[in-house]
Amino acid sequence: MYSKDGEDYFIVDAHIALWDGRPENQLNIHGKQFIDCFYDYHRNLSPESEVWSYEEYLYQGGERLMKDLFTDGYVDHAIFQPARLKEFYARGFGQTDEASALAAAHPDQLTYNHYFDARDGERGLDQLRADAERFGLKGVKLYTADWHGESRGWKLTDPMAFRYFELCRELGIKNIHVHKGPTIRPLDRDAFDVADIDHVATDFTDLNFIVEHCGLPRLEDFCWIATQEPNVYAGLAVAIPFIHTRPRYFAQIMGELMYWIGEERILFSSDYALWTPKWLIEKFVDFQIPEDLTEYGPLTTEQKKKVLGLNAAKLYDLPVPAALQVPGADETATGPRQPESADLALA
């Protein structure tokens, strides 16, 4: 819980990882390129005081994770969203055994989501069944830009993916976190295209599709899809650290999200260990949309409470103390919100 100015915030970090990017786990140059790319994100967007050394960044371990999230970071509950990256790392990037054991030891604080890859075919369906039982899955993380043999990307609309979503439905895995990276195949199309989300969200209305980093770098396409699909959510991973270096850009991201999808479908994520939650939460609670951006209404404390934890708590049925709850927004399920603020650029 985070408290400021007499207000208490229940915090759910909806996207964290326990990764191992150390050289001994790297299979090839791409393993190094991947963790280096993350480290550049980290260095570029973090306040100077929060920048880690490269060695610290390669691997954190469970103890450090618990400290960064729960001792120092105000987080009440966090959800693992592991990436496999089996072509880059010998034991994978997300550390399944270590993370799931940590979640089992701290069930009140941690939820372990696993992944599937539709290119694993029939065998992968059996594996998903086994994983659901082993981890008690409520959610999965899908990284569509993962490499897999000859293939360097897949789409949620691939025929085999539908079989996986049907199985998710059967197994009670209702939260599908989608990380759109630069998929390669087919190379002819926009690599970050989010259109496949539109199709599956329509076909599987009983599943929730949480699009990580709110579709960036295709915020516009994401917003247009999400406004029409009530089961599509925006994860703030990678978007929220802009609050420090580029607060006006972050204000515009928040303004667009609030306008197109509203306050109940946005989820806070630190993307740990890309960034740590402490400074992000502190800055977000203090954050306000600049007054000269008159096309957006100001963010209210209730809206911030929803984004920081209550929305994710709802998706994962996490118990929230009654005193920390806020009333529902009574918003439209689809279409733009706060029409009174939709005044183009007029003051």
């Binding site: 390129q33 190379l187 199309r189 926009d190 690599a191 960036l216 915020l219 580029r246 183009l344």
Partner: protein
């Protein structure tokens, strides 16, 4: 004679040619973005190295930029030997081999390529136009707070301030797409150039705004990441053009502004 001068093959001429190559996602020249790492010219031998903000920048866009760069430099008079390479990318080897062998897009990427990248290019030319349209209209709205939604729907190109950077930028992007550029042409249009209905116009502008914010944000992030990845590369970046300085995104520096 200026004609002779401009035909001298030197680093400046090569950089000028590279200045015609645009990052399709960001709608900015690769020379302004700092993506040109080095240019060396020895007689008729030219070697150009490009760099990108991450190892995993989308390979299709990477290919578009390096192949456009190669084409632009190859067209210069006096180029006898030309090497254009993309450094430090997850697909550097593949792309550089394909370029050297003049294998083309399909020859380079094999089964991962289908037809061509023309449609992809067009998608982003449309986004660039949409963003430029939003910048031009929002500049008007901010200058004249009394402008109504109806007035936005009715705007024609002749209503935009002639010669203003936002107007010029819009006209250039309309030309690329083959949209009309005469004074009577509607400003607020769909991708195909048709004017939205009166009731749809506010929504069209809101969608256009999300396109502009997305492109601006990506441009700032990519520039920042390049600086982090290649210390000192900020010196090779040219500040964003005046036609898109409408909403500065950076934190104002704390020190005295110069």
């Amino acid at each position: 004679m200026t004609a002779v001068l401009s035909e001298v093959l030197d680093e400046a001429a090569v950089r000028r040619a590279l200045g015609t190559v645009v990052d399709p996602e960001l709608d900015e020249p690769i020379t302004d973005l700092g993506f040109v790492r080095s240019v060396t010219v020895h007689g008729g031998a030219v070697e150009v190295h490009l760099r990108l903000p991450t190892s995993f920048c989308a390979p299709n866009f990477a290919w578009l930029m390096v192949s456009d760069a190669r084409e632009a430099v190859a067209a210069l008079p006096g180029v006898a030997r030309l090497v254009v390479e993309l450094d430090d990318h997850s697909d550097s080897e593949l792309i550089n081999r394909g370029l050297a062998a003049d294998a083309g897009y399909r020859g380079t990427f094999g089964h991962e390529a289908e037809e061509s990248l023309d449609e992809l290019r067009t998608t982003f030319q449309r986004k660039a136009h949409t963003a430029a349209m939003e910048r031009a209209i929002t500049a008007l709205l901010r200058a004249d707070r009394a402008l109504s939604e109806d007035a936005v729907h009715d705007l024609v190109l002749g209503d935009l301030p002639a010669g203003a950077p936002t107007t010029e930028a819009l006209l250039r992007r309309r030309s690329v797409l083959g949209l009309p550029v005469d004074a009577a042409a509607a400003v607020l249009v769909h991708d195909d150039g048709t004017r939205p209905g009166r009731a749809e116009s506010a929504m069209r502008l809101r969608r256009a705004r999300s396109v502009r914010i997305s492109m601006d944000g990506n441009a700032h992030f990519c520039r920042g990441l390049l600086q982090t990845r290649y210390p000192g590369s900020d010196a090779d970046q040219v500040p964003r053009a005046e036609d898109r300085s409408l909403l500065p995104l950076l934190v104002p520096s704390k020190g005295p502004t110069s």
